[in-house]
Amino acid sequence: MFEVFKIWKHQGKQYIPDLTKPVLPTSFFGRPEISSKPCAEGCSACKDICPTHAIKLEPMTLDFGKCVLCNECTRVCTEEKISFTSDYKTATNERSRLIVKEGETHPITINEVLVRKEIRSYFGRSLKLRQVSVGGDNSCEWELGATGNPNFDFGRYGIDFVASPRHADGLVITGPITENMAEALQICYDAIPAPKIIILVGVDAISGGIFAGSDALNRTFLDKYTADLYVPGNPPHPLTFINGVMEMIKLKKGWF
């Protein structure tokens, strides 16, 4: 028993008291910014090198829902036009908000107009999610698992992952949606009682990522339903997911 107390003492306090406050190191690849200074004459190096064609020119935009965060665009650019901030609050409910435009420096936020009314009234105090990996490479899955670890402890707000879709309020999708999982995904979605939400986690789920164009995928599920939250990243940091969900449901902490 004494050994157990020693372990407790050595571990100390592990949890992050306020999940909206942590500051990530500057090395972290968060929300990109594109400065408005001019490009070098006739240069398209960043667009040409982007492995997922996330960059468009004139005017320059970077689709964070396609970006795999390889950082090559900042390396090839001679004018330091693109930079990645350490801002991890990048989840949004509107796909177009992930497309960062030249000169924009404002944070990526939830579009309040698009949030369905029932999401906040039903799930504002508790949200149970069913995660389904449909071709995910297991990094997004590890990060979602980490949201429940002693550091983040998302469960403290009544938000966690459940085993059965029948106990769930929503579906969390990771991976580019493979043909071989398409049917199982649909069955799982149908088994969740309404009202229900869909959260796409990771670049692969949002746009297919590096797998876009593969013949082994079947993304028709996303033609049928609109996602309620896009959580970009490769994989997204647990805090990106946590803050996105908290904003979406306007989490009510405490009794009132």
Binding site: P25, N71, A184
Partner: protein
């Protein structure tokens, strides 16, 4: 008959690979396998010049070289060949894969089922929903089907337990749900950077292991030699990845035993290790760190300082928790003699990595075919003999401690190595691959042996990129472990292997 052997991370001309008839090929395989030090690291086929070409790579762990040989077939729907699996069981998975991709029948193969139901399989009328499961009959016999979606945040796969009462007679594992068409994408996506990103996504928990195999192949093709410093950093990243995942796995072990303290402490201990990756390269899974020919994220003195401190703190807390966990009677009760895979079984199925070392089979690429800095500072693998859940847990515990020691010796050497002067150079992206060439790279990821083979065509385009994750072999070990165990012991057995679904399905 001429023979050819090459070293790990070597590239050769395709024409130099001996082409045998299938019967000579068969004899050659049998002959090599008489030597206990030999095991097959890859055996695959591809379209070549309107024919089918099959290359077999058998590694000799004693001589530290790899035998490469091949055979060719004309394209025909009704080819039948005698199966190697009859004599050497480990070939079962390769022959199943070849059957799935090209429709070739292997006579005598006991188990000819699809491996992953790939979108480009030879016969698309064979459907996943009709998978030919083994049937069990008897008064108390019943089947329990689980998945593809499991009760947790994990990848999909279908498990079918054939049970007699509470006892599992056999577990049949059917995968393929994660199939993303990776091997085909290697040829479709032409840019080196795209292919590197693909390698990082084969299995996101083994980013360093898989990406390293890929870049070593490319460096062999381009005849690039990276500096000793880069090699050292690659070895260090690989060991850090091992520490992080092993610690996370131990947390999962404890979680499944309902041992709360172990689960939470190991879970929290993993965080600083992956956060170190984030400090180093911006990504907690080291995506972006391993690149062909150069190192994009220099290892600064500040990082070194941070790592030394981190390892000291981590080691103390890790050992404290591990000692407690592995001495608790309630833990040992569930660990010991649960899910035993014998040494003989392990050798029969060709298990690799942890799944081999926990049963007394010394199979570790770091020692047998050293790459990166393992050539300079030899690594001595940890070997256990139990073959049970305890051995798989203990192996992780010991490997974490060994890896910490290994990283410390790397850090000592680091100072003596000159700073890396290789600059970021995009001209590499325009460089063509050599035509009609073959290259092989083996690395030891945390799960075990990773093998990547690359073949180029006349124009230097990638004709075939073959990826083999250790899980391809080791799933069978999980199936064997469950035999004669209670079905309630499945979760702890499954965690003890922690195999990759996406690595198998590609």
């Amino acid at each position: 008959m001429e023979h050819l052997t090459i070293k790990n991370n070597e590239s050769i001309r395709l024409e130099n690979i001996p082409v045998y008839t299938y019967y000579d090929f068969y004899d050659r395989v049998m002959e090599l396998h008489k030597n206990k030090a030999c095991h097959c690291v890859n055996y695959f086929g591809f379209d070549y010049d309107n024919k089918l070409k099959f290359i077999c790579c058998i590694a000799d762990d004693q001589e530290r070289n790899i035998h490469i040989f091949s055979f060719e077939l004309t394209k025909d729907k009704n080819i039948q060949l005698p199966s190697l699996t009859v004599d050497i069981n480990a070939y079962h998975i390769y022959e199943r894969e070849i059957n799935e991709n090209f429709g070739i029948q292997f006579i005598g193969h006991p188990w000819m089922k699809h491996v992953r139901y790939a979108h480009n399989r030879a016969d698309t009328t064979i459907l996943m929903k009709d998978h030919p499961f083994i049937k069990v009959t008897g008064e108390e016999a019943h089947e329990v089907g689980v998945g593809p979606i499991h009760a947790g945040i994990i990848e999909p796969g279908h498990f079918r337990f054939l049970c007699q009462g509470e006892e599992v007679l056999h577990l049949e594992i059917q995968l393929g749900y994660q199939h993303r068409g990776i091997e085909e994408l290697y040829s479709k996506k032409k840019h080196l950077l795209q292919r590197t990103i693909l390698s990082e996504s084969i299995s996101g928990d083994t980013t360093v292991g898989h990406t390293l195999a890929f870049v070593q192949n490319m460096e062999a093709f381009y005849e690039l030699k990276v500096s000793k410093r880069i090699e050292l950093l690659r070895s260090m990243a690989l060991e850090l990845e091992r520490i992080a995942i092993h610690t996370g796995d131990l947390s999962a072990f404890c979680h499944d035993l309902a041992y709360q303290l172990g689960s939470e402490v190991f879970g929290a201990l993993r965080t600083p290790i992956i956060n170190f990756f984030q400090f180093w390269c911006g990504n907690r899974f080291a995506k972006g760190l391993i690149r062909t020919g150069y190192n994009p994220y220099p290892f600064t003195p500040e990082l070194k300082e941070r790592l030394i401190k981190l390892l000291d703190d981590f080691e103390f807390k890790f050992i404290e928790m591990a000692d407690k966990t592995f001495s608790l009677p309630s833990v040992l009760n569930r660990f010991e003699k649960t899910g035993i895979v014998t040494k003989t079984q392990t050798e029969m199925i060709g298990a690799v990595g942890m799944a081999a070392r926990m049963a007394g089979v010394k199979r570790d690429i770091r020692a047998s075919h050293p790459f990166a800095y393992f050539k300079q500072i030899p690594y001595t693998p940890v070997l256990l003999s139990g073959g049970d859940v305890y051995a798989r847990g203990m192996l992780r515990n010991l490997e974490v401690q060994f890896s910490i020691g290994y990283i410390r010796s790397l850090l000592e050497v680091l100072e003596t190595l000159p700073e890396d002067t290789t600059k970021y150079d995009t001209s590499l992206y325009q460089k063509n691959l050599p035509s009609e060439s073959f290259s092989i790279s083996l690395t030891e990821g945390w799960r075990g042996e990773i093998c990547h083979c690359a073949v180029t065509d006349k124009n230097g385009e990638l004709l075939k990129y073959k990826v083999k994750d250790p899980s391809l072999h080791n799933w069978m070990a999980l199936a064997l472990a469950l035999r004669n165990n209670e079905i309630s012991d499945f979760p702890i057995n499954n965690k003890s292997f922690n195999l990759s679904y996406c690595g198998n399905d590609l």
